[in-house]
């Protein structure tokens, strides 16, 4: 989240889309209700009238997978209104804090001109050849002046300026088009646009709260880009009650991502090293952005300090200037390969992955196309599962329908300790690192993951010291001194970082250097555990200066305990807040003698923009200004609507049916509407959680929600002769499940361009292991992923339904 949970109460309009916070993040819903008490409006956009929808002031129904069409439609409405009523918008923000004025290469062409594609596509429309499903982005560039600075038209009228190109791009997404694609009634759609566009005023803030319904699509990343564009045009970024607020689903998925447990990143989102990074210098050049834009801080220019400090944390004295700080010890990615979850299981299915360690994850239930994962596991020589509970992944070799005697995989199950049986920290969705303590003992021989990882590494180091092996230095030279029972406080301090010349903890990442004199496990968390103590353990409820609910002394958040990111965008060029009632920061010319910022930790502490030493607000963007035009995206700089891989209709926005870039792993597994005419989505219930091992073994929760169900409209049920409570079979091209039918008014058939299309929703928390067993919807979901992130398209695929 750019903002935080309690900040929701500062919003005037809350847009909940691709999420059902009433059930997915119930405590947070209290803050939505608090906002409503103050007069705020809640908009819920969802294929189903969820519990969130029942509390909404505006509910708009959309077909799963059509989010970009809806949001581009909203952007269309807002742009037209900006031109008609500029006084209702923050034109200063749009002109000075965004790239709206930048001029783009005149050879750049978009979907409005190219039937759904952008300039530079290697293939044809609806290209099937994987080698041709890519873009040459050389036309997706800025026009630069003689100093290398993007040319700008601050009047926003030049036909090649970003504002005009965006306007042209979204012009196709009229209310009629939104109705044809999404199935949303025109008046519902326009009501939502009107209500949300109100937040364009400087005195009003709108927040977008979203979750997996937005991300789990082949077009998922563009869905979020669309939100960013909308929020930027409405000057909602960096303000109280605004922002892009991803509601993350696990207690520490924020932390696990921050610490680089994904193949493409090291800690702190530093890009991982690849084969062509032949030297540290080359690597740093590749990953460190530069800018010519005056007054742009370009904070990522500090990358070398964070990289070298990380290498010092990992290799200690073995990382020196002479050996490029142990650079070559790091495993380098094959730059032609993708190593993400779907690719990982494809490699396992092909037999190249022989061993798997699985820490508190249950891919046999949580991954897409479950049969694929479960079968792939059979190819492993060995599997290590570490969890509090037995899982389907640990039990894959005895799952229903297989003969254990034919499966050779060795399986090790290691019992782990629960959250309150150990000490350490977790980072919530709003970047708050919260320390927690051991309250009770675990069962039997259970140990915590810190202890387990340490034991394994100690043993491995012993083996490599005694017996040697290829690349042994990477293991034996690693700085690994945690004793027999690692102390999480020691690890947290390593993460914070040290000044190696004094042995003292650094105050924060501003003190980090690229010359090997500092160490830091993760630059983002630098400042969390300093000489002043464990900042994450703080429990003070002091209010912030402006009373906007920041709780600056409760726990610690990254970066630098800054609670609202990009908060320089909440003030004008002189540092005066746009919103007088809910200021985030405010320039105080007498503070500390020479002046400073009151309120939240300013993002960044430089003087206001109007002064010579002032800086632009979007400090993590090389040019310092928010990007409406995003050339870094795989499938286009503006979000374009494409149908999901499996779709019941032809694309009404263009001739390009589905996303032209995403990788199609198994084309033979694509279901077609003649066989599978019903749109399916997956979702969660409050009583169960993810792949189920943490909830399906708890009697109270099983009592409340005993089995998986498929929810459908009364109309569909009537067509199929299904009564509420009947057992039904749901099938896709990939598999079949049996579930209870829940027949409700919450789904309604869609009218799409004259065609009736039904949608159903299914739960996926179940599997064949544990107190409560059943089928997972993931037996049906497709293993295709987003073109940028490879997140699977769990949220929109095709099925058929019949009585069992």
């Amino acid at each position: 989240m750019t903002n935080h949970w309690g900040d929701i109460a500062n919003a005037d309009v809350i847009l909940a889309m691709g999420a059902n916070p009433a059930e997915g993040h119930p405590a947070a819903f209290g803050w939505i209700m608090k906002a409503k008490e103050r007069g705020a409006k809640l908009i819920a956009i969802d294929p189903r009238l969820t519990r969130t929808g029942t509390k909404a002031d505006f509910y708009a129904r959309i077909r799963s997978g059509t989010d970009v069409a809806f949001i581009d439609g909203m952007i269309n409405y807002v742009i037209q209104d900006i031109e008609k009523n500029p006084d209702n918008y923050n034109m200063l923000y749009i002109r000075e804090y965004t790239d709206a004025s930048y001029l783009i290469n005149p050879n750049f062409k978009g979907p409005a001109e190219l039937d759904g594609l952008y300039s530079g596509y290697a293939g044809q429309l609806n290209e099937a050849d994987g080698a041709k499903r890519k873009y040459d982005k050389s036309t997706w560039t800025y026009q630069l002046d003689e100093n290398g600075i993007p040319k700008q038209d601050k009047t926003l009228k030049d036909p090649n300026c970003v504002f005009q190109l965006l306007k042209k791009h979204v012009a196709r997404y009229t209310p009629e088009k939104v109705n044809a694609i999404c199935g949303t009634a025109k008046d519902s759609f326009i009501e939502v646009c009107k209500a949300y566009a109100e937040t364009g005023k400087t005195s009003k803030a709108g927040t977008i709260m979203y979750a997996m319904g937005t991300t789990q699509h082949t077009n998922g990343a563009e869905n979020i880009r669309a939100y960013s564009i909308l929020q930027t045009l409405l000057s909602n970024m960096g303000v109280a009650g605004g922002g892009i607020n991803a509601m993350r689903g696990e207690s520490n998925v924020q932390g696990s991502t921050d610490y680089g447990l994904l193949y493409h990143i090291l800690t702190g989102y530093l890009k991982n090293v690849v084969d062509s990074d032949t030297t540290l210098t080359k690597y740093l050049e590749r990953i460190t952005p530069t800018t010519k834009m005056p007054k742009s801080l370009n904070w990522w220019k500090n990358t070398p300090k964070y990289v070298v400090s990380l290498f010092k944390a990992w290799y200690g004295d073995a990382a020196t200037k002479d050996n490029e700080f142990a650079f070559n010890y790091l495993p380098k990615l094959d730059s032609a390969k993708n190593y993400s979850f779907i690719a990982l299981f494809e490699a396992m299915a092909a037999g190249t992955i022989k061993g798997l360690m699985c820490w508190g994850q249950n891919p046999a239930v949580g991954g897409p196309n479950s049969n694929l994962e479960r079968k792939a596991l059979e190819n492993l020589d060995w599997l290590v599962g570490i969890d509090l509970w037995q899982t389907e992944t640990m039990d894959f070799w005895k799952r229903p329908g297989v003969d254990s005697k034919t499966i050779k995989t060795e399986v090790f199950v290691l019992p782990a300790l629960a959250s309150y049986e150990k000490e350490g920290s977790v980072s919530n969705s709003s970047r708050w690192m919260q320390w927690r303590y051991k309250a009770a003992n675990g069962p039997g021989d259970a140990e915590d993951d810190l202890w387990i990882a340490n034991k394994l590494m100690l043993k491995l180091r012993e083996l490599y010291v005694n017996k040697g092996g290829p690349g042994a230095g990477a293991i034996t030279d690693m700085a690994w001194n945690y004793g027999d029972k690692p102390d999480p406080n020691v690890v947290a301090k390593e993460i914070n970082g040290y000044d190696l010349t004094t042995g003292k903890l650094v105050n924060n990442f501003v003190g980090l250097k690229d010359d090997g004199t500092t160490s830091c496990g993760c630059w983002l968390y630098s400042g969390s555990y300093t000489e002043a103590g464990n900042m994450a353990a703080r429990r003070k409820l002091t209010q912030d200066t402006f009373n906007i609910g920041l709780f600056p002394e409760w726990s610690w958040c990254w970066p630098l305990n800054r609670r609202i990111i990009y908060n320089r965008a909440s003030v004008d060029l002189d540092g005066v807040p746009f919103d007088k009632e809910h200021p985030v920061i405010k320039w105080n010319p007498t503070k500390g003698g020479t002046g400073g910022w009151d309120g939240d930790i300013a993002d960044n502490a430089a003087v206001p923009l109007s002064a010579d030493a002032g800086v632009l607000p979007f400090i993590m963007v090389p040019n310092g200004q928010a990007k409406l035009f995003g050339p870094g995206m795989a499938e286009g700089p503006f979000p374009e609507f494409y149908e999901p891989w499996e779709s019941p209709v032809t694309n009404q926005a263009s001739k390009q049916q589905s996303n032209p870039i995403f990788k199609i792993w198994r084309p033979e597994e694509k279901g077609t509407p003649d066989e599978f005419p019903i749109v399916a989505t997956t979702y969660r219930v409050v009583e169960h959680w993810q792949a189920g091992q943490m909830t399906r073994n708890l009697p109270w929760l099983v009592e409340m929600q005993p089995e998986p169900f498929v929810e459908m409209s009364e109309e569909l049920a009537s067509e199929k002769g299904i009564d509420n409570g009947d057992k039904v079979v749901v099938e896709s091209k990939r598999g079949s499940v049996k579930m209870v039918a829940v027949v409700t008014k919450r789904f309604k058939p869609f009218q799409l361009n004259g065609k009736v299309v039904h949608q159903v929703g299914m739960l996926w928390h179940w599997g064949y292991t544990g107190l409560s067993t059943g089928d997972s919807a993931n037996l049906l979901t497709p293993s295709v992923g987003d073109a940028n992130t490879m997140i699977p398209e769990y949220k929109a695929f095709l099925v058929n339904v019949r009585k069992a």
């Binding site: 680089g260 495993p331 061993g355 254990s404 019992p415 069962p443 990882a453």
Partner: protein
């Protein structure tokens, strides 16, 4: 007489094993001073924690004695949930050691076997480390076909874990890179 949960906790004294009984006050008299702490036979410790489920990060108070969980409820001092709990948080007591479904032993399934057997930690750590080493060594690429130093293995994958502590995630990230893994993924991807 209205007492907020916060007042109740403060009155009873956190972790001191005292208790405040409403009946000990005369019902017709207003509370003139701090309530008396009455000693109980058992010492009850209260420890603050953060929920292991979703990403809201609600605070909980775990009441325990002799290493066992007695009760779990929302932390009234936590600024996000202010003592509230959803169904999952409210069930946190059942995550504890008393739940018979909790794994309490190291288990091993041999090739082609039809069931798990119990093992010791020492045995498992040694066996797992040996398998990691032999798989890694047999499938380790020091230089790729272009002669670039890559020092990686593509034969071992590491998945997890979005519910592990930050300090655990950090050590796993460090350890797995030290071992040369490139297939490092977890729930954030899916």
């Amino acid at each position: 007489m209205e007492l907020s949960r916060r007042d109740f906790l403060k009155a009873s004294g956190l972790g001191v094993g005292g208790a405040f009984l409403l009946g000990a006050i005369k019902p017709d008299k207003a509370l003139a001073g701090p309530p008396q702490a009455l000693p109980l036979k058992k010492k009850i410790g209260e420890t603050t924690s953060i929920c292991p489920y979703c990403g809201v990060g609600c605070g909980f108070v775990i009441d325990s004695a002799d290493g066992k969980v007695l009760n779990v409820e929302g932390d009234p001092d936590h600024p996000i949930n202010i003592g509230g709990a959803c169904a999952k948080g409210a069930a946190l007591k059942q995550v504890g050691a008393d739940n018979p479904w909790r794994l309490s032993k190291v288990l091993y399934r041999a090739p082609n076997a039809t069931k798990f057997e119990e093992k010791s930690w020492d045995w498992a750590i040694t066996e797992i480390a040996e398998r990691i080493k032999s798989t890694r060594d047999a499938n380790f690429t020091e230089k790729d076909s272009k002669g670039n130093i890559v020092n990686r293995t593509e034969a071992i994958a590491n998945l997890g874990g979005a519910a592990l502590d930050n300090e655990e995630c950090y050590l796993l990230s460090k350890m797995m890179r030290g071992l040369g893994l490139v297939y490092i993924e977890h729930q954030a991807r899916i």
